[in-house]
């Protein structure tokens, strides 16, 4: 039995402890130059559940998300301390190869960011750079299955040569999700994936997230509490760079322990 160490302020009965965590983070601090963006955050998440990070703007929920695939490396002056493990292996050490890490931990961004290439080439990008397809037929198969899993195949199968940027916003975002799952990652990080989409496109993405649960460990940052309630089973509430509360989504939204969580959930601020 792998007991999970939850933050001290969390009663253990809030989380079923029988699940093996996919990623574990301990005592994470993030600094941008001299400014501290994240204070001492410890959190685990697993493949079985979709985990939602909620909190007001500027609370650090996107910053902590970017620690899990070391995207903070690309920001000049960003510094991350603490320990993050993927399947028990530390990923924060400078010796770790971010290329392999990012093949295992995919990411979907706030604004759909398809490459200015064809739909096919967008999906084929990851398999190509990681050498996952031995032949053209292989690659065709990978592209098709990624698009199918992202629920986009039927819409684009006749226009794979069109530019990815010609799709609608919602299709572009599903293209980005398909691009991420084309390399068959273990974790998918989603940074407010629906904030630039209309309600219909949002519903499709949420459906897709639900389909993908269990196959990938999914973490979704959202400022939309209804969305967190709809798609996640675990929710972490962040405020001012600290994690205030983490537990089962149903509990966080119906019976939060912390007063600040309750205030946020009920719309007192944020």
């Amino acid at each position: 039995m792998n007991a999970i160490n939850f933050p001290a302020n969390q009663p253990p009965d809030r989380i079923s402890a029988s699940i093996v965590p996919k990623m574990t983070a301990r005592n994470i601090d993030v600094f941008y130059g001299a400014k501290q963006a994240i204070r001492n955050v410890s959190i685990d998440f697993s493949r079985e559940h979709v985990t939602a990070f909620i909190g007001p703007s500027g609370c650090g929920k996107s910053t902590i998300l970017r620690c899990f695939n070391r995207m903070n490396d690309t920001i000049e002056g960003a510094r991350v301390t603490g320990e993050i493990r993927l399947d028990g292996v530390d990923i924060t050490s400078p010796a770790l190869d971010v290329v392999q890490l990012r093949a295992r931990v995919g990411m979907v961004f706030q604004k759909p960011n398809p490459f200015p290439k064809s739909i096919y080439e967008n999906i084929a990008y990851g398999p190509r750079i990681h050498g996952l397809a031995a032949s053209r037929a292989d690659l065709d198969g990978v592209v098709e299955s990624a698009l199918r899993r992202a629920g986009l195949w039927d819409e684009v199968k006749d226009r794979l040569k069109d530019s990815g940027t010609t799709l609608s916003g919602g299709q572009q975002q599903r293209l980005c999700i398909a691009r991420a799952i084309a390399v068959d990652p273990e974790v998918i990080l989603m940074d407010e994936p629906c904030s630039a989409l209309d309600p219909v496109a949002t519903a499709k993405i949420e459906e897709l997230i639900d389909d993908l649960r269990g196959r990938y460990a999914i973490v979704i940052v959202t400022h939309n509490m209804q969305q967190a309630a709809r798609v996640s089973q675990r929710t972490a509430f962040f405020h001012n760079g600290a994690m205030v509360e983490y537990g089962e989504t149903s509990m966080i939204f119906t019976n939060p322990v912390q007063a600040r969580t309750k205030d946020y959930i009920t719309g007192r601020y944020g």
């Binding site: 690309t74 000049e76 990012r102 990411m107 960011n113 490459f115 200015p116 990008y125 190509r128 750079i129």
Partner: protein
Amino acid sequence: MLALAVILLLGGLAFLIGRWRGAALAPAGGRIGAVHSRPVYHGAYVALLALAPALLVLAAWGLFGGAVIDERVLSALPTDARPLTPLDSGAFMNEVHGLANGDFAAAFNPDTARAVPIYQQMRREGDLATLLLAVALLLAGGLWAISQLKPAFRARNRVEAAVWLALLLASIVAILTTFGILLSLVFESLRFFELVPLSDFLFGLKWSPQTALRADQVGASGAFGALPLFWGTIFIGAIIAMLVAIPLGLMAAIYLTQYARPRVRRVLKPVLELLAGIPTVVYGFFAALTVAPAVRQLGVALGYADASAESALAAGLVMGVMIIPFVSSMADDALMAVPDAVRDGSYAMGATRSETVRMVLVPAALPGIVGGVLLAISRAIGETMIVVMAAGMAARLTLNPFDSVTTVTTQIVALLTGDQEFDSAKTLSAFALGLVLFVITFLLNIYALRVVKTYREAYE
């Protein structure tokens, strides 16, 4: 000079009076809108109406007064003292000017000494009359303007309109000048094409612009086939120079935008752009004195004994270096215009920096880069000093970079230096060459700017 100072002083006074009168229109502390314009606009309006006509008169006298005086001095002289031809008149009056200003101690032509007092008197009278006229106009304009000042008078709008007009004229000057240049090119070229058929010029293979001055002169037939010139221009400017400038410029831009730390970029980018500030004549003698001999030696070492001391390769290499900052700064802009989100998307897929550059950023920025390269080509083919000094004069169709070739610009320089008569095909051919160059670079620029523009719109 004194006249200008007087007029400007009076203009300043007009401003002060206008402002004072404007201020007097409203009692202090009156509500906004009681007087339409603030006193400073009344002052500016009065100064404008006072100064504009007066300055125009002074400018007209400054531009044309000298010619009018010279004309009248000559006609005032007794017939026997007058110079015979217009050319002599010029020299004659130059001497008169020199004597009158005290630059010459004594007259070379005794007749000029007779003209000096006439000239001096006319000059004095002319200057005085102009000044009086200017002051009269200034007073008239100023007084009329002052008489218009009322609380409801829209002085501000009139001053703003005058500013608008002045700025419009300033911007039109450049455009009109370009038109003038184009027209002179077209007309002189038409004269050339009366002598030499257009098809011979554009498609002829032999360029030998010497025409016979005398009927019995030897070896001066005159051939105006410009194709070797066009080829030389393209060979140096669009091929050799671009083989240097495109890879180096693009790689410099990739380094500066994707690899360099901000501090390094802050230093390196301006330094690279400094290269664009080196006068092309400096590149020219660097090409002629340093690069060309080395290229010749290389050619000889490679077994080409006839390697020329002036070569397409030497000129092209140096021109390529000159164009690097141009290409790199356009490519820099194009790469920076690719949204960070696209780059992050590639990194998040586990792509390395070079994979991201190669597979995402450069393809995404390609239209902008191509536009920049086209602009660079149009600059390279119009460039003159380097090719004049390092490419040679031999008009030939060759693929050998160690041969000397010649370009359109080099030939224009050669055709228009020295004594020229403007009725020979030799001189006029320079205008035809200039016209072709103008049309080509003009079209290239239009096309390149359109490519760059549509590309920018794609990311906005």
